[in-house]
Symmetry: C2
Subunit: 157 residues, 2 copies
Amino acid sequence: MKSPEELTELFRSTGRKVTAQRQCVFRVLQGDVTHPSAETVHALVSAEMETISLKTVYQTLYDLAELGEIVSLDVGTGMTRFDPNTDDLHHHLVCRRCGSVRDLVADFPQLRVPEGAELGFEVGSAEIVFRGLCPDCRSAAAPEQTSGRRQTQRSRP
Amino acid sequence: MKSPEELTELFRSTGRKVTAQRQCVFRVLQGDVTHPSAETVHALVSAEMETISLKTVYQTLYDLAELGEIVSLDVGTGMTRFDPNTDDLHHHLVCRRCGSVRDLVADFPQLRVPEGAELGFEVGSAEIVFRGLCPDCRSAAAPEQTSGRRQTQRSRP
DNA sequence: TGTTCTTCAACAATCATTGTAGATACGGAG
DNA sequence: CTCCGTATCTACAATGATTGTTGAAGAACA
């Protein structure tokens, strides 16, 4: 993700208007490695702007995703997460207890669909999700973080 | 997933009661490779039992998942999908246009988190999602299948 | 500065999923 | 085979995440 200043420029140059609300979202996202949900971003932004609406946060995140400045991803924690790291060569670690998400920077060059197994699909990209326990949850009685419903009883495709 | 008869036995032996509704879900799931959503399963079952409720379908799917007979997974199509194939050595192909899901049977033995990159996580499993276009959607003007909201503007972690 | 078009906040609405309650049916005991 | 306790059923309401709507307010450009 570009810097808040560059994003301001980018928004203007693509016909989008720059507002205090949006710049606040830029700032909050800057350097964030926790893959926050829209709700989490809203909470962070609210600390500075008490009246900002959740809808506005969603709209700004949607715009950023459309511009390719952030990536929206669904790792099965019940809500869409947003990642300012748009590097193609990274994947994700997901805690199956608290739902926290971290980037795993590693290239898996052999990640190709074996010839004949693609069932007619035209494959464009591959994502890997590693599931396990985050450091906090490994230390036994650590408290849960997110408020979403389903963390237990999750997948293993 | 076991056969409907074996599932009947399994349900009984684990203290669960066997009803016509449940057996109908067993039958519908048997041999299904489309990774249906709860709603899709409900539609299929409804063809036989018009009055079955969606809640019952959810409950049965939940039970089957608890018993390890099916796997629930979230591949970002907006709803949980269910897979009667519980083989650990397979991954998924997801159409980014219509949201259809297929199994990709292939082992990726080198799918280990590089030493030092796991950020303190205790990694238990890894899933790969390959995104692209299914055969139907490749042939241009093919109609959309699922009814969910977000199919466009999806992730690429 | 004025004009115009976008974006804002505060709703209400939607979709997938889950909780509740009373009626009903399974399945082991008699 | 019938009875009874308990799990399950259906219908309906409620939840959480996300999106649509609307009138007011603000950004960008002439």
